[in-house]
Assembly symmetry: C2
Homo-oligomer: 208 residues x 2
Amino acid sequence: MSTKEKILAAALKRFNADGMVNVRLQHIADEAGKSVGNLAYHFPNKQAIVLGLYKKLETEQIELLREFRIVPLFDNIDRLLEAVFQHQQIYRFFYLDTLEVTRAFPEVQAEYQKYIETEVQQWLQILEFNTSRGVMSPEPRPGFHTGLALQLWATSTHYMAQEMVRSTVLPGLEAYKAGVWNLLIPLFTKLGHQEYEQMLQSPYDLFY
Amino acid sequence: MSTKEKILAAALKRFNADGMVNVRLQHIADEAGKSVGNLAYHFPNKQAIVLGLYKKLETEQIELLREFRIVPLFDNIDRLLEAVFQHQQIYRFFYLDTLEVTRAFPEVQAEYQKYIETEVQQWLQILEFNTSRGVMSPEPRPGFHTGLALQLWATSTHYMAQEMVRSTVLPGLEAYKAGVWNLLIPLFTKLGHQEYEQMLQSPYDLFY
DNA sequence: ATCGGATTAGAAAATTTTTTCTAATCCTGT
DNA sequence: ACAGGATTAGAAAAAATTTTCTAATCCGAT
């Protein structure tokens, strides 16, 4: 691992633990086993380090979305949630301090907003596909799906921040998934409930 | 208004606009039309200012909850949401940077966590009461209400942060209320839908 | 082996921000 | 009016943090 990468990894670790704004160059240098002067050699300033991390996050985020551009059966949704959760764990600092980061970097905000829009659209497609194949009942009022798609995005994105404030322990994957599924469950048809139960009982993880 | 109060008001204004961590004593002093030295006379340090604001927030928050310890008909829920939204607007900085504040003040975290628990319980009672009076259908799976109560709290609390990141404009009351109601709508019985429609059509605000 | 650019640590300087100090002014009670 | 504490502004000092500079070391190509 190059020094540049080591610095980024160290910064990520400190950011995740203490929050971006509370991390000093010295902390990052210590974590990386390098000197502050060396940090300066690789990055013009602290902002560049944050930006470097965000670029990595963004790349992986887009990759994730591409990978799950697949048939949104319940199984697939569940797997997508796991991948998203894992990604959010890794780049925790960003999801916990999104506003801080976007305030400091307007260009990050612009790009992230575009990404959000894509994600909300993906949720909307998931809702529509699953309604059409009869596992979810039609929306109870016009525009309901649009609102729900937003809610699904919000829940799946802000879950970590929520739980960090509410409890003291790190949130678990199962609670996360349950939180998102809870938004969908009330719309399940009888068929939907069956498929959901079946999914819960076949832990596909074992086959990987 | 005493100088102390002026300083708090000025700090609140700057915190709301720029985020707590980005506000300097100089900014607060300028906003208050006072000197930095004067700030130091009234508050031993910056932390004391933040804490002063949190104390006010907490008092009003508890007052709010007490006030709405009433029969949770749809009308009342809607009114509660308006009061909560307004309160969150006023103390925006806290709801946008909760993690930052609680990281800096462990004692705030402890108190806020207790308050959250009370709020979640209140939502649970609302769910149970409205199920018992036949406007909401029974929970589709055991433990569903518990999860939903949490979700209702999360949605009603993190809405502002969500929207600040997602869009650039300040979020509106109507969208906020809709977001929360959307969580309840799928559980409505026929009677529930009727009551909801009726509520939407009678803008009680006019009678205040 | 050695030249030369790349990398590194650590110190020094600069910058930013908070805290302390001082003297002036205000305001209240007599 | 005036004594004396409360309040205030502004400067000075201190503290915290980032940025720049310098000299030493490393490492690959010749």
